[in-house]
C-alpha cells in the first residue's frame, strides 16, 4: 500500500474575494476510503472540481501515482482513471440507462484497454454493470431513458458509469444526498464492495454515520481550509470539529 497514491498539495483557489480553497493538502493511499466533511460552502465541491480538472487552482498541485495531473483537462484526468459523481445527478437523460454506460467505452482509456467494449458484447458489459449496482436485469428498468428513472436509480447509474471507466479512484460528491434512509442502506453494501475490490474512494459526504462506517480516515473542511484529519472516532472527539458542527448531529 503506497500512501502517496493520490496527493493533493497546498491547493488554493479564490472566487473573487472568497477563498474557496486555502492551501488544502492531503494524501490518499491506494485502496483507501477517505471521507471529506464540512458545512455547505466549506470548499468541498471546489476541491472535487479542482482534482477532476474542472477548475484550475490558483496554486498547488495534484499528483496521481507520482505524476502531476494539476490543470489537465477533465477527460484526460478521467482517462487516467479518476471517475466522479456529481452533487446533483447528471446522467445522459435522453439515453436509455444501459446506453449511458456505453458512452465511457468510447473514452481513450477503454478504447486502448485490451478487449475494451467490442461490438456485440458492449451491451452485455453495460447490463452486467447495471446489475452490479442493483438494477433488476430482467426488468425493463435498464432500458428506460435515464430521465424516467427515480433518483435512487440515478445515483446507482452514476456509480455504474464511473465503473464503466474501470477507474482506480472514484470521487463521490454527496452520493447519499436526496436518498431515503432505506435507499442509503441499500447503497452501503455496494460501496463496501467497491472498497473491497480495492478501488480508492474519496467521499465528500454529509451523511456522517454512513461515511464513518466506510472511511477509516476523515478530513474536515471549514471555509476552504482543512481544520482536522484523522480516524472517525478522533474526528468526533475533536473540539474544533464539534465547534464547526455545533447544533449539527455528530
Amino acid at each position: 500500500m503506497t500512501t502517496d497514491f493520490l496527493v493533493v498539495d497546498e491547493l488554493s483557489k479564490s472566487f473573487g474575494g472568497v477563498k474557496a480553497l486555502d492551501r488544502v493538502g492531503f494524501s490518499v493511499a491506494q485502496g483507501e476510503v477517505l471521507g471529506i466533511i464540512g458545512l455547505n460552502g466549506s470548499g468541498k465541491t471546489t476541491l472535487v472540481n479542482v482534482i477532476t480538472g474542472f477548475i484550475r487552482p490558483d496554486s498547488g498541485h495534484v499528483w496521481l501515482r507520482g505524476k502531476e495531473i494539476t490543470g489537465l483537462a477533465p477527460e484526460k484526468i478521467a482517462g487516467l482513471g479518476i471517475a466522479r459523481t456529481f452533487q446533483t445527478v447528471r446522467p445522459f437523460h435522453h439515453l436509455p440507462a444501459f446506453k449511458n454506460l456505453i458512452v465511457p467505452l468510447y473514452s481513450s482509456r477503454i478504447r486502448s484497454a485490451a478487449g475494451g467494449g467490442r461490438w456485440g458484447d458492449r451491451d452485455a458489459v453495460a447490463l452486467d454493470l447495471l446489475e452490479e449496482v442493483g438494477f433488476e436485469r430482467d426488468s425493463s428498468v435498464p432500458y428506460k431513458p435515464a430521465a424516467a428513472l427515480p433518483h435512487g436509480y440515478l445515483r446507482r447509474l452514476e456509480l455504474a458509469r464511473c465503473l464503466a471507466l474501470r477507474p482506480e479512484v472514484i470521487i463521490t460528491d454527496e452520493l447519499f444526498s436526496g436518498l431515503s434512509s432505506s435507499e442509503v442502506s441499500s447503497l452501503m453494501p455496494l460501496m463496501e464492495k467497491l472498497r473491497e475490490r480495492g478501488i480508492t474512494l474519496v467521499m465528500v459526504e454529509h451523511r456522517l454515520r454512513e461515511l464513518f462506517r466506510l472511511a477509516r480516515r476523515v478530513i474536515v473542511m471549514e471555509q476552504g481550509r482543512k481544520i482536522a484529519e484523522g480516524p472517525p472516532q478522533a474526528i468526533v472527539a475533536d473540539n474544533a470539529v464539534r465547534e464547526t458542527y455545533l447544533g449539527a448531529e455528530l
Partner: protein, 290 residues
Amino acid sequence: MLRSIFIYGLINSIILALTAVGFSLTYGISRVANFAYGALYVLAGFAAWVLLHRLALNYYLALFLAVVFVALVGAALYRFALIRVRGMPISEIIVTFALGTALVELLRFFGLFGSAYGLPPLRRATLQLLGVPVDFQRVALVVIGAVLILALWLFTHYTKIGLAFRAIAQDEQAAMMVGIDPDHMATLSLALGSALAAVAAVVVLPLGYIAAESGSNILVFAIAVCILGGLESPAGVIVASLLIGYAQILSVAYFGPHYQMIVALLAILVTLVFRPSGLFGKQKELEERV
C-alpha cells in the same frame, strides 16, 4: 396538378432535409453554427467536378472522394480555426462565415462558376410516378435522403461513437468526466456535418449547375429548416423540411419561382417571433451549481 405538387413537394422536402441535416447535426453535437456550410457544399461540387472532368475518375469514386475531401476540410476548419474561439458563439459564426465567404469568392475569382460547371446525374432517365414524369436523379435523391436519415438515426442510437455524440450534446461536463474529449468530438461533428453537406451537393447539384449563389442559398435553407424545427432536433429537421418543402412548392406553383427563398426567410422570421426555440426545441436545463 395536385399529384405533381405532392411528388415535387416530397422531393423538395427531402432536398431540404438533406441539405439541413449536416448543419443540424454539427450544431446539435458541438454547438457550433457552421456558417461555412454553404461554401462546403459548393466546394464539394467543385471537388467532384475536378475529380470527374479533370482527373477522369470513375463517377462513384469521384463523388466518394469529394465527400471525404470536404469532411477533412470540415475537420481542419475546427482543428485550425474554430478551436481558438471555442465557446464564443458570435466568434464561431464570424470565423465560419468569413472562411466560407473567402472560399466562395476564391472560386469565383478563378471563374469557376457557370453552366459549364455541372455534375452529371446518376442516370439520364425519366420515370412515371402516379402519372407524373420525374427524372431518375430526383427519385434517387429521395431514396438516398431517406436511407441517409435512417442510417444517421441508427448511427446515433447504436454505435459507441454515436452515443458519445449524443452524450456530449446532452451534458458536456458529464461526458468529459467519463473520458470523452470534447475537441475530438467537435472535430468529428464538423467532419460529419461537412460530409453530409457534400453528400447533399453531389446528389442535388446534378439537377442544375454549380453557382456562386448555391452556397448562400443552401445556408439560408439549412438555417430556415433548423430554426423552424428547433436547432439540434433531428425530428425537427424532418418535420420542418416537409413544412417548408411543401410550402415552397405550393407558393412556386401558385405565385412564382422567387417565392422559394421568400418562404424560407418567412419561416425563419415567423418562428423567431412566435416560437424562438422552434417546433421541437427544448429549454436549456439549469447549469450545475459549482
